[in-house]
Every structure is written in C-alpha cells, then in structure tokens.
C-alpha cells in the first residue's frame, strides 16, 4: 500500500489482529488452547470461540502463501507427493506448506489441529482436503456437518432443523469432548450478537459503492476488508471495532469525494464501474489489480467478498436463535446459493451500484465457483444488457496466470465499455 494508505488506522488494526492470532496459534501448546481447522464458507466461528478454540483457515493460509510468492514451491512439493495437476491449488498449496513445516504467513509455526471441522459441504474438495489432512494428523478429531444446498432457493424449516440436529448430536458433544469445556449457550449468544453488529457494518461498508466515485474497491480492497471476519474474528469485539473504524474512514472518503485507495495511491478518475464474479488470482494480485486501476476501473461489488457470508439481503446472525442462526449461516453462504439466486444477487449489485459491466474471472481449479459461471454470465447479459467479460486464471498456482493474455482480454473489454458508454451518452443527447 502507498505511504498514505499505510497510515490508515483500520489497516494497522487488521495487521495487529492477524499478528495476534498467529501469535496465539504459535503459543497454543503452552497456553493449552485447542486448535480447530475449518474453512471460510459456512464457518462456525462463534461456536469455535464458545469453546475457546483457535481457528485455522487453510485456504486463507494458501492465499497468503501465494501473495508471499511461496505457493509455487508448496504446490511443487504436493505434486511430488502424488497430488495431481488438476487438484484445487488451495489444497496443494496447503498440503505443501504442511510438508515444509507448516510455517504460517507471519513466519511462525502453525500448530497441529485438534479438530478438523467441515461445516460446509457445497465444495466437495473440502471433504477430500480434510481426508488428506486426517491422514497427516491421525490424532485430530474430524467433525463433518452436512449442509443442504439451496436447491429450491429457500432454506426450509426442515433444512434448518436437520442442521441443528447435527450441531446438537455431533458437533457440540465432540467439541465438548476435545476441549473439556461445557457448551455455554449464553456465551455463544454474546458472540452472535457481536457477529450481528459486525455484519451490519460490513453491509454498510460494501453499500458505499453506491457513491460516485466509489470510495472503495469492493474486490481488490474488498478482500482485505473481509479479512478479519473471514479469518476467525467474527463474533469478537475486535472485529466490531475494526469495522467501525473502517466505516468511519470510508465515510470520510465519501465526504471528501475521494475514490478508492490503490497500491499506487488514490485512484484519480473513475471511468468504469464493474461487478466481478469469481475469486481473484493471488499469485499476481498486484499486477492483476493494476490492470484495472490503470484503466480507471473500480469494482463496485464482487461475489468473492460474499464467500464468508451473504449480508446484502438483510440476513444476520440472530442471537435469539443461536443454533438455527448458525445453520442458516452455513446454508446461506454464496456458493451454497443456487444459480438463479446468484444471478439475482449479482443483478441486484449491477443495478444498485450502477455498474457499467460484469466480469467473470474463471478459476481453473475451483469447481464451486466455475460451475455455472458461463450460464450466469449469459443470463445477466440478456437480462440487463450489460457488457460482459470473461478471463481465466487460477487461485494460487502462478503457472496459470498469464499476464499478457489477461491484459489483452481486459484491454479489449475496456475498449468495448468505452464505446458503449459513448453510444449511451449520444443516445441521451
């Protein structure tokens, strides 16, 4: 980030939170804290906190490894150990990191898991991932929760009940057994109340892109903004404080009429407003971002910032229905929505945030995102007559990021947007 950007208080707060977590993890053995590995979509952060456990998110570690240019080596290590070229690169990066000593982003060792908690089954790779980890960590307790897919675009009471039953009969008793701590519902409710507060703030933050210029980039900066809530701080006071600070900083940017912050300082002219579907590429994150901000393109909404929870449509964790809230949360994560729901959600973003275009970044090794992406794009194009663009890259395998190909396609796309903008303006006149 730029000199000025580094002074933003929220960034300092976030850095401290992450460092604190990894410190706690490094000292878990000494402090006697249990460690729970889990995934971002459908994570039961509040329940993990209720049992005083520390969370580890393997896919977050993978993306951080990629940003630190370590993923290529880790992936090579995993492939040496018979993980196929076609396997999700988050998995291989994580497995490779583990094989190389499990050193996390802060340079400290990440402790072994006491629990492998899978609370979202929409991504089948997650199942296989934990099967692999189970072989490496035979002492870890595996807890698997089946999350029903929103096949018919609704969460029925039966679906919720089915999940709550699993929490009551499987998850909670096993957590009690591993931690030796009795389930305390009042404590869970307190965490859920804090989650609700943070979620309100997050919804407000991502809604600021309604402004012109947009004060934030909801994809490239957005992935930083969702960092705290996706790395295990949901349900904590720290998260609430962070989002309060971030929101006030953004309000100040709106007051001053400023555009988003980029690694090269403030974006001067907002030329195009886009909605992006799909995760970013992490190995060349800066280069990828630069192609956009160099062209004056700001992302006003993205699906990826919703993987850890969809708060746009008003859903919040409800402390009064603690286990039901957790169940709904799991079922309501972005990739658990059916395709028409995703189309509706993205269409709403395009309309409400006055986007000029819709871009799909299709990820080679991510089935949960890639399945249906083309159909969604077609439907959105037809429904809203918005120009659509399609690029391809990968999560954390640098071999699948081709700068020149992506730049070529995006350049064409931006030229296409420019033309259409002019036609529209002419039509207005």
């Amino acid at each position: 980030m730029s000199q000025e950007a580094q002074k933003e208080k929220s960034m300092i707060l976030q850095k401290e939170m992450i460092e604190g977590l990894f410190n706690d993890l490094a000292n878990a053995k000494e402090t006697g804290k249990k460690v729970c590995y889990t995934f971002v979509p459908g994570n039961l952060s509040e329940l993990i906190r209720t049992f005083d456990m520390l969370p580890v998110y393997p896919e977050i570690n993978a993306l951080q490894s990629a940003m630190r240019k370590k993923s290529a080596g880790y992936i090579k290590e995993a492939e040496k150990n018979a993980h196929s070229e076609d396997v999700c690169t988050y998995v291989k990066c994580d497995v490779g990191m583990m094989m190389k000593g499990n050193i996390g982003p802060t340079g400290q060792k990440i402790p072994e898991p006491d629990i492998l908690l899978l609370s979202y089954t929409g991504c089948f790779t997650f199942l296989k991932w934990f099967e692999t980890l189970k072989r490496e960590y035979p002492n870890a307790k595996v807890i698997m929760v089946h999350t029903p897919y929103q096949e018919n675009a609704v969460m029925t009471p039966e679906m919720t009940e089915y999940m709550v039953k699993q929490f009551k009969e499987e998850v909670i008793p096993q957590m009690e057994a591993v931690t030796g701590i009795k389930y305390d519902e009042a404590k869970l409710k307190r965490h859920l109340e804090l989650s609700r507060q943070a979620e309100d703030l997050i919804a407000k933050i991502f809604d600021t892109t309604k402004n012109k210029p947009s004060p934030i980039d909801a994809y490239f900066a957005g992935v930083y903004y969702i960092g705290p809530i996706n790395i295990g701080f949901r349900g904590t006071q720290k998260a609430v404080d962070y989002y309060k600070e971030l929101y006030s900083e953004i309000l100040e940017r709106i007051r001053l009429g400023l555009g988003p912050i980029t690694p090269e300082g403030e974006m001067k002219e907002e030329k195009y407003r886009l909605v992006v579907e799909g995760p970013p590429n992490w190995t060349s994150f800066r280069e990828f971002w630069k192609i956009f901000y160099d062209m004056g393109a700001v992302i006003v909404a993205s699906s990826y910032t919703k993987v850890g929870g969809v708060y746009d449509l008003g859903w919040r964790h409800d402390p009064e229905r603690p286990l039901e809230a957790l169940a709904e949360y799991c079922m309501n994560c972005y990739t658990n929505l059916n395709i028409p729901q995703r189309i509706d959600l993205l269409s709403k973003c395009i309309t409400e945030y006055s986007a000029d275009g819709y871009v799909t970044n299709s990820i080679k090794s991510c089935n949960s995102f890639s399945a249906g992406q083309l159909g969604m794009m077609r439907e959105i194009e037809d429904r809203l007559e918005v120009p659509v663009g399609f690029i391809e890259s990968d999560l954390v395998d640098p071999r699948y990021f081709s700068y020149s190909n992506i730049k070529n396609r995006l350049e064409s796309y931006f030229q296409m947007l420019e033309q259409r903008k002019m036609i529209k303006e002419e039509e207005k006149v």
């Binding site: 083309l374 794009m377 194009e381 663009g389 399609f390 030229q415 296409m416 033309q419």
Partner: protein, 471 residues
C-alpha cells in the same frame, strides 16, 4: 485532396493493411508475413496497400474500358502479378547477394563446391520463379517471399548430395532474416513501366491456345483480346500513369490492431483491440452480422456484436494452439506440405479420421501413428481440419452461440476445408443461418481499424454505415 484512412493489423502470422476512402470503401490492401521486425512488417503491409490503392485508382480511371473490354480486365490482372514479380525480383537480388556473402564466410572444407553449387541452384530457381509469376499463377497464390524462395530452394538442395544439406540450410536461415527485415521502397511508376515491358514480351510471344473445353469461355476471350489489343491498353494506361504515380495517398489517420499492436510505432490512442476491429470490419461488410468467428494464427475469437457493429461479448482461445492457425502450420510442416495445399487435400478425403488429440504437438505424434497404420493422408487431414473447427464451435457456444448472421474472418477462413466444416457445423448446431465468408476475410481486422481511424474513435461514432467494397 482526397483523404484516406489506414488500418494495420499486425497478426502473429501475417501483417495486413487496409486503406479506405472517406466513404469507407476499401481502395488498397496489403499483406506480408510477420517477421522478427514488426515495424518492417507493418511498413511493408502499408506500402503494399498504397501500391494496391494506386492500382485501384488506375483501374477507376479506365473503369468503362475495364467493364466493356476483356483485354483491359486481363491486362490489369496480369500487370499486378508482374508488378509483384518486380518487387520479388529486387528482394531476390538482395537474397542472392546475402547468400553468396554468407557462403563465402563458411569454413566448411568443401566450401568451394558449396559456392559453386549455390550459383547453380540460383541459376535454376531464378528463371523458374520468374516464369511461374509471369506465365503461371504464382501471383495469385498468396505466398510470401520467404515461402516462394524456400520451396524452390529446398527442392534443389534436396537433389544434391547430403553433404550439402547442412551448409545450405544454414546459409538460407542466416540470409533470409536480414533480407526480410530490410525495408525496400519501390518507385511505383518505374515498376509499372518495367512491368509493361515484361508484359509486352509475354503477349508478343503468346501462342494460340487450343480451346479444349478445360477452361471457361471468358478465358479464351480475354486471352485472344489481350494478345491482339494489348497496345491499346498500354496506351490508355500510359495516359494516366503519371498522374496516379504522382498523386499523394494522404493518410489522414491510422489505427493499429492485432497481436503485435502494442509494438506498432503508433500513439496510444491509435491502437485498438483486434476484437473490436474484427467485429467492426466484419459488420461493415455484412451489416446484419451478429456473431463473428475469427481464426487467426495464435488465437481464435468468437465475438457477438450489436446492430452498430459494437462488441457485446467475446470469448477467446489464446492458450492452446490446437484450434488456431498455427495448428495448421504445424500439421503442414509434419506432412511437408505448404499451407495452401492443406485445404484442397483435406477436401479430397473420403472420410474424416478421428483425431483425439487436443494438443498440437501430440497431434503430430497421433498423425504419425495413423499414417503408420495405413490411414490415408487426405482423411487424416480432413480429421485435423474438423478438429480445429470443433474447438472453434465450442468457443462459439461459450460466447452465446450463433444468434443471427454469422461471419467468418481471419487468415484461416481462406482454408476451404475449414470453411466446409464451419458451414456444416454451424448449420448442424444452429440451423439455417446466413453465413458470410468474404475473400477479404483476412483483412477484416485491418478494415475495422481503418474504419475506426476514419471515425476518429472518440469524436465521431458510427450511427449508420453504408459500406461496400471497391470493385
């Protein structure tokens, strides 16, 4: 002064230039193979387009005669071929000098024999090529300098002893690049006049050809007319040649596009994406076009356009050579054929051999295996052509399918076998739709560029277009 607009499409295999007038009518086209030096490739294409534009202007001057009298039509076609040959000849002289210089620096023990053999080879191929240009149809084969020379040269090298193979290949490789990268400017008037002398020689000695029914009637009509009346045509041309040669082809604006566009010596605002240019060019020629398929050397694009010719979405294959023109180039090499021979041979197939490989390099291995198993070469070629089109069809499907009129552009659209399969598969998948393939399909990107140039891109966007090709 008339204003003209230039579009240059610097592709991975060929560089194309198109000049249009202020009514969007194409007045000149130029094409050359893309070489290491992009600037030279672009300059050559541009110069070619300017010569072509002068011929167009010349033809316009004698338009009535060309329409009414067969000898005018024939003469104009022939003079362009000879003009091409005159350009070829200059370059050939450079190449000969360069080959001799390269060989003189060799340290092989049989150097003297090499020098002698080189002279012999050059003495053989020089008149061969001349004759094929002037009396044959070499000029209409769309072959570039490098291809023409190497074909003849390799054939002769193959005939001499094996000990010469390596030095001769080395000599060619070392000499061709600097010659290709050299920019030679020709004097239009001088070259036209020289061409007229050559034509005089040709027509004077032309024997009566017996009508044996193998050719169309107009062929004999043109031939007889030109034999008897070429002096009249010459006379008419000489009347205009001075004016046309002296006329400035004022390029008011230009736009560069294509894979090498960033390397063109153009200002940034004169560079446009080839996707937009191809769509715009295709739409200009066929205004009802809604889907454009462009198969180029190193990428394939499926583009959807609106009624303005503006792109609404596109899909590209820019990762994998299987499905691009280069695939055909590779296959041609594998079979020792020239690119132009691929399509006709594939079209002579009795069936299409299934080619499973999705990779260009591995397709090579598969082809060898099939040949070994006794599969006929045309059938294998047909299978390979079909495979390319299947890939393109999948790209079209990804981009939203064929919605209305469909236009096929890019260098590969010149391949008759590809064309056959495209027509067939589009029909199978999308039913009866109008399919447009134009002889200028390879120039669509450059045409779109020129049209953007004329519209100054930002200031004057198209509302309605009336566009047609010059005769």
């Amino acid at each position: 002064m008339n204003k003209y607009y230039l579009g240059i499409d610097l592709g991975s295999t060929t560089s194309k230039a198109v000049i249009i007038n202020d009514q969007d009518v194409i007045v000149g086209r130029g094409i050359t193979n893309t070489r290491a030096n992009y600037k030279v490739a672009a300059d050559i294409a541009r110069e070619e387009a300017i010569y072509d534009a002068r011929f167009t202007l010349l033809s316009n001057k004698i338009k009535q005669d060309m329409e009414a009298k067969p000898e005018f039509k024939k003469y104009m076609a022939d003079i362009r071929t000879v003009f091409q040959y005159q350009q070829f000849k200059r370059r050939m002289e450079s190449l000969e000098a360069m080959l001799k210089k390269t060989v003189s620096e060799f340290t092989y023990s049989n150097k003297d024999a090499i020098v002698k053999k080189l002279d012999e080879i050059l003495e053989i191929i020089r008149p061969q090529i001349r004759s094929e240009f002037i009396y044959g149809d070499l000029g209409s084969k769309n072959q570039f300098f490098r291809d023409i020379v190497s074909e003849k040269y390799n054939l002769e090298v193959g005939k001499i002893g094996r000990e010469f193979y390596e030095p001769f290949m080395l000599a060619f490789d070392k000499s061709i690049t600097p010659v290709e990268n050299e920019m030679v400017l020709f004097n239009f008037k001088e070259l036209v006049l020289e061409s007229m002398t050559v034509l005089e020689e040709k027509y004077k000695g032309l024997a009566d050809e017996q009508e044996d029914g193998s050719k169309e009637d107009w062929y004999y009509a043109e031939l007889n007319a030109v034999k008897d009346n070429y002096k009249n045509v010459e006379f008419s041309l000489r009347e205009h040649i001075e004016t046309i040669a002296g006329q400035e082809i004022h390029i008011a604006k230009m736009v560069g596009t294509g894979y090498g566009r960033a390397l063109l010596p153009f200002p940034e605002d004169c560079i446009k994406s080839e996707i937009l240019c191809h769509a715009y060019g295709a739409h200009a020629i066929f205004p009802n076009t809604r889907t454009v398929l462009d198969i180029g050397g190193q990428d394939t694009k499926a583009i959807q356009v609106d009624s303005h010719g503006l792109v609404t979405s596109f899909h590209m294959n820019d990762r994998c050579a299987a499905g691009c023109g280069r695939y055909l180039g590779y296959i041609a090499d594998e079979f020792g054929l020239s690119l132009n021979e691929l399509g006709p041979e594939a079209n002579s197939a009795t069936k299409e051999t299934t080619i499973c490989s999705t990779c260009t390099v591995f397709a090579g291995a598969e082809v060898k295996e099939l040949l070994h198993n006794g599969e006929e070469r045309p059938n294998i070629l047909a299978g390979l052509h079909k495979a390319i089109v299947q890939r393109a069809m999948s790209l079209i499907a990804r981009s939203g399918g064929v919605r209305n009129e469909f236009t096929f552009t890019g260098g590969v659209a010149r391949n008759q076998a590809v064309l056959k399969y495209v027509k067939q598969m589009v029909k199978d998948s999308y039913g009866e739709v109008t399919m447009n393939i134009h002889t200028d399909s390879i120039f669509m990107g450059a045409l779109g560029g020129a049209m953007f140039a004329r519209r100054n891109i930002s200031a004057d966007l198209p509302k309605t277009k009336t566009s047609q090709l010059a005769d």
